[in-house]
Amino acid sequence: MNELPETGLILNLALAVGFLLVTAAVLLSLWRLIIGPDQPDRILALDTLYVNTVALLVLLDIKLASSLYFEAALLIALFGFVGTVALAKFLTRGDIIE
Amino acid sequence: MKKLLPHPILSLMLLGLWLLLVNSISPGQILLGALLAWLIPLYTARFWTAQIHIRRPLLLLKLTGTVLVDILIANIAVARLIIGPRARIQPAFIRMPLRVKGNVSVSLLANTITLTPGTLSASLSPDRSELIIHALQGNDPEAIITDIRERYEQPLLDALEQT
């Protein structure tokens, strides 16, 4: 696969901007996670953080031209969902497993 | 037939899931996927109590298309609301009586409502007769309910039958 071209200028530029935007998104979610003000707000911020992380990993995959991080992205999406459900259920019912 | 392959739709979905997961369509993976798609529904059959019948597959496909387009519109609309002046956001809770019955239909409808423009399903009454919806622009609750009814609920009612 040596004859394949390196990732070009346009793509690298877009990736750089993409990383910047998603990092900003992570910081904003983190801000909401810190200031709260309520528990549901924090759960929502955490959920958004998970999704932002998935976005970051997908970008990294394209940047490195390897699908090494695909499984990591899938697992974060999975566990993020499970975590959100567990936390929300805890708030609603007071316990998680009945 | 019913005993051997209790949930054909679930089996197909599992096979698709497996092939996507391994990212390959080699004969070996298809065989392995088919085996899993056959065994998993067989051994979890008691867990899946609801049986759905797709009465009109084409209508379901059309509904999926509508929803996908609406998701695109929803994203742009919500994006404009986020950036735009705050006065344009007039949030309200809306109570919507449900006509669809059955687990699958209700959850499909609730998910659709959340994914589409300016509405979010917030709570379902225990008897599944009413949904509380939160709308970003809720000046006209009647219009929102009529819209949901016509666009999503009616096709769902027509296309799916749950026993």
């Binding site: 904003l28 997908v58 | 996507l20």
Partner: protein
């Protein structure tokens, strides 16, 4: 050369998708900080983020399909998963918030209705007096 042209086109397409996706991801989180109460904030991540990450995943699928032999579709799996789970998380968080009577600008639904929707009975009601009026904080 045609191969160079396709390379350019694919790169442009992928770059565009990356920009759209990253932009929407940022918008989702921006809404999370900007909007004024929890129920409004719930709208933004579920909508903007699904499309944002969706675009990024399509970009990834196109990129790897073009770059490596064979079709790369496993990104679709993450996208489908996110599309299914995002509304469910939002619904559960909204339900938890309603259960806790988190104040909102839109006014909570009537208490009798919420009582019905809690539907678990055993948990004692929150000791704070549930307010029907929206709390005007700003």
């Amino acid at each position: 050369m045609t191969t160079e042209l396709t390379t350019l086109l694919v790169e442009l397409f992928v770059a565009l998708l990356i920009l759209i996706g990253a932009g929407f991801t940022l918008l989702g989180s921006f809404g999370l900080v900007r909007l004024s109460d929890l129920y409004e904030r719930l709208h933004t991540p579920t909508k903007a983020t699904t499309l944002g990450v969706g675009s990024l995943l399509i970009a990834s699928a196109v990129f790897f399909t073009w770059r490596e032999p064979g079709v790369s579709l496993h990104e679709v799996l993450v996208a489908v998963f996110l599309f299914i789970t995002a509304p469910v998380s939002a619904h559960l968080i909204a339900k938890a918030a309603l259960h806790q009577r988190t104040p909102s600008h839109s006014g909570l639904p009537p208490e009798t209705l919420l009582e019905k929707h809690d539907g678990h009975g055993t948990r004692t009601k929150p000791d704070t007096d549930p307010k029907q009026k929206p709390s005007q904080t700003d």
